[in-house]
Homo-oligomer: 108 residues x 2
Amino acid sequence: MRKGILEFCILHVISRGEVYASDMLEQLTSARIMVVEGTLYPLLTRLKNAGLLDYKWVESSSGPPRKYYVLTDEGRQFLEAMQSTWLDLAASVQMIIKKTEATADTSK
Amino acid sequence: MRKGILEFCILHVISRGEVYASDMLEQLTSARIMVVEGTLYPLLTRLKNAGLLDYKWVESSSGPPRKYYVLTDEGRQFLEAMQSTWLDLAASVQMIIKKTEATADTSK
DNA sequence: ACCAAGTACCTTGCATAGCAAAGTACCTTT
DNA sequence: AAAGGTACTTTGCTATGCAAGGTACTTGGT
């Protein structure tokens, strides 16, 4: 990993059910993860091209049509893989932090 | 954050006491964080140029001299800032994961 | 005294994530 | 039909991470 935490979060949001870009931005913002359109749209296009996402156009009653995204089967598998990568990374960083604290203690 | 988790980990390792590149690689590897020379050396140079690190040459009894790195005061401050950024990020991602689990439950 | 092997540091070039900013298109309201 | 809001897109820049190859110093074997 290292790269792609945003990607991971976006796949998570989509895995909860059909959403379009503004829904995603709202859900990510509510988890205090800041994303802007210029990051999100190219990312969605990339994930679609990689076969992890699919979408359908849906008419809106108040504005232009929206792209509603869903995960493909491949996307679900990929999300699971990313989750285990994330958990490993988080555990590793936690280990680094703990060890520094331990070192600071023994140096007193 | 998003970018720079490696940077964070390396600053942590250096904060524990003077180390040279191979020490860092060893400590990072023992936390299951894989880094290679081609990543580490340019990063150290960058952090040095940014004023976060300083180093001194030390003769080795078994090979060429080594660069032992230490954090500058600015480096310590920066490390603290990164740590709080990391903790925020980890909490946010955890929130995303929990919410997906909650959504999966209620959809049964 | 010399050459091979080991250790340590450095450089180049590439792929790609994230982002700012500007752009296109559609729909509703007045 | 003009204005404003919503939604999706594109372009160009910066910087991280990495593979691969390179330089230089030291030790050890013969």
